[in-house]
């Protein structure tokens, strides 16, 4: 069986679910950011695979992937800044302790 679109999409789905389980289960905020990066990479793989097999002459999926990368860069910089600020104020990055908004 030759490798086609489905194989790349299944790889993307597996990667996305691994990232999702990581986001749900981990307590360390930096690990949660890393798992979000895994999920964004999974989406990018799916977009580029669609661009390769469904619209090979328009490259729309690759343009979407470029925008996803730009948003991911902005997101991780803000995320690290927020984590460092919380660490300065509360001396922890355990997300179970970030319950300031909890009533």
């Amino acid at each position: 069986m030759t490798v086609g679109l489905e194989h790349f999409l299944i790889l993307s789905a597996v990667l996305f679910c691994i990232g999702l389980v990581g986001v749900f289960t981990k307590k360390n905020a930096v690990i949660i950011l890393m798992c979000i990066e895994i999920m964004l990479n999974a989406v990018n793989i799916a977009l580029v695979a669609f661009s390769r097999w469904v619209t090979p002459e328009f490259l729309t999926g690759q343009i979407f992937a470029i925008f996803v990368m730009a948003v991911a860069a902005a997101e991780v910089s803000i995320g690290i800044a927020i984590i460092i600020t919380i660490y300065r104020n509360r001396d922890t990055i355990n997300v179970d302790k970030f319950d300031l908004f909890k009533w």
Partner: protein, 163 residues
């Protein structure tokens, strides 16, 4: 050859992503994450997206991994151990359920395949699509504003207020 490279890269990516979740040491998890970024760049090359592969190396391997490592270093004394929370079992069940759902959908859908030859090198065509007429110029400007906002937000958040 295409198939062999795909399987090697897919196994490396999935094992690295699992290692990010399962490793005890946070710093090692970051290093394995960098390995996963490099393997994803290989997947892009396999999909004849050469410009995206270079951007992946520059942005993810070059910049985002450095940010994450700096974040780990600055919060080092509490990052020993990589514990899981209380919701571990339900999260794994939800993840496996979503995975079965996604794979079933992917396998049972007949995708509209086009049999055009992918353009390569892609940099010229991507530039024409982004900046040409009927392209994505407004979105490029919006991304520029978003990045500027992110820079300003990071500076404001991390400024030392005691001076």
């Amino acid at each position: 050859m295409f198939d062999l490279i795909f399987w090697i890269l897919a196994i490396v990516i999935v094992l690295a992503a699992l290692a990010v979740i399962l490793l005890r040491d946070v710093f090692r998890a970051a290093l394995v994450l960098i390995l996963m970024f490099v393997a994803v760049a290989g997947i892009y090359i396999l999909l004849s997206a050469d410009f995206l592969a270079i951007v992946q190396i520059l942005v993810y391997v070059g910049a985002i991994s450095v940010l994450i490592v700096v974040g780990i270093m600055l919060t080092r004394d509490v990052t020993r151990g990589n514990p899981s929370g209380k919701l571990r079992i339900p999260a794994i069940v939800i993840g496996i359920f979503l995975l079965i759902l996604l794979i079933g959908t992917i396998v049972n859908t007949s995708w509209p395949m086009a049999n055009g030859i992918p353009k390569q090198p892609t940099a010229q065509y991507l530039g024409e699509r982004l900046f040409g007429t009927g392209g994505y110029l407004l979105q490029v400007e919006l991304v520029a504003i978003l990045l500027l906002t992110a820079i300003l937000g990071a500076i404001v958040l991390l400024r030392n207020k005691k001076k």
